[in-house]
Symmetry: C2
């Protein structure tokens, strides 16, 4: 059976930078399910038409096509119950939605101003036009004006991490002794940053940095190559 | 076997306002474990000396004495595994720590400025002195100066709830179809407010308000009496 993950890519096909696609890459590795990661760019809407989705990640798993990272994770848990669990039980699955909501609604907004210019610079020209227009509409200002003070934004980002940081003082992963999908939901933000930006997001002695390194150390060979190439 | 929960109280012994004590009250009800709630005031340190803790909640469960809400919840889950689970599995137990960290480190700091004056007014005079001194040291300013703009603070509090609000759009409780300890960790904040303050924290159409009402509707008779008396 073929298994294909459509992933957002930059001008360089190996620059895979979507935090939501990284969640599924890590989830597939967690369940030890081999897959081909297929690069997809913002303006290649025709290539996703078969899926009914306009955005990635899209997973084609044999006869099944699933879009949206949360739905894909739930699908993988249900379709492969004998593989390592992504949620650690029904309570974990329910609470993962809170971690996702915090990541999407609090953490990403604190991070994205630091990355916008770098993302733009790594896209193909035709994707740059789409990216600039859609993001300038979202932020209501020119891309270059979204982050007037990088140091202040970085401080905001680090403060925003406080619940994660506090949790990691009592356990090595959000999931406990080993990572769960909730870890990947948050780690996607750091892989997003890592694949487009040279900004040092964390202080070296931050417990969050040690957690991120534990996640990176578990990456499969293909994923490691993608993060090293970036 | 006797089971006693030491709970923070105001001048009125039935004004039980600690968010951390409410977590355990709700957890004991969740596990259908009868208990006596014993009022305790900030300056009654001698009454807790037996426990080795200087703060409540303290639970005396037969021969066992446990302090700290997180430890008590973990104890209850381990000691009463045949009762309804507080965590819904090991993943849920691990991720609950993130919800607690968010509640303690993000939600409570957004709420406490709105409650400080009311808490103070509901204490015995000797507890008022302790409360004022300890809180003014913590905030570095007079109690009356901690919240110069209630409307702005209320707006901050409501914004802070966004990950909870978003999660509740896809499920009735943080724990999924039914509440778990993670719900109680957050609900403690609202019971804290309810028992000391008349401030309307939430807009009527806020999904968080509907969730809070679902939690309140599940309270046992004794807990309901305490919230109604407040």
């Amino acid at each position: 059976m073929t298994r294909t993950l459509y992933e957002l890519a930059g001008a360089d096909a190996n620059r895979r930078f979507s935090p939501f696609c990284w969640r599924i890459r890590l989830a597939l590795e967690h369940k030890d399910l081999p897959f081909e990661g297929r690069p997809w760019r913002f303006t290649e809407t025709g290539a996703l038409a078969f899926s009914g989705s306009r955005t990635v990640p899209v997973l084609v798993d044999g006869e099944r096509t699933i879009a949206d990272s949360g739905r894909i994770a739930a699908y993988l848990e249900e379709a492969y119950p004998d593989r390592p669990s992504l949620f650690g039980g029904p309570g974990g699955q329910a609470l993962t939605r809170f971690v996702e909501a915090w990541t999407d609604g609090v953490l990403h907004p604190a991070l994205v101003p630091l990355l916008l210019a770098d993302i733009h610079d790594h896209l193909r020209p035709e994707d740059q036009d789409y990216f600039r227009q859609s993001r300038e509409a979202r932020f209501g200002k020119p891309l270059e004006a979204v982050c007037p003070d990088r140091e202040a934004q970085l401080a905001t980002f680090r403060r925003t991490l406080s619940p994660l940081r506090h949790t990691l003082k009592s356990q090595p992963f959000l999931g406990g002794e080993a990572p769960l999908y909730a870890d990947y939901a948050v780690a996607g933000a750091f892989l997003w940053a890592r694949t487009v930006s040279g900004t040092v997001l964390l202080e070296a002695d931050d417990p969050v940095a040690a957690w991120r390194d534990r996640i990176l150390a578990r990456l499969g060979a293909d994923s490691r190559a993608l993060t090293d190439a970036a």
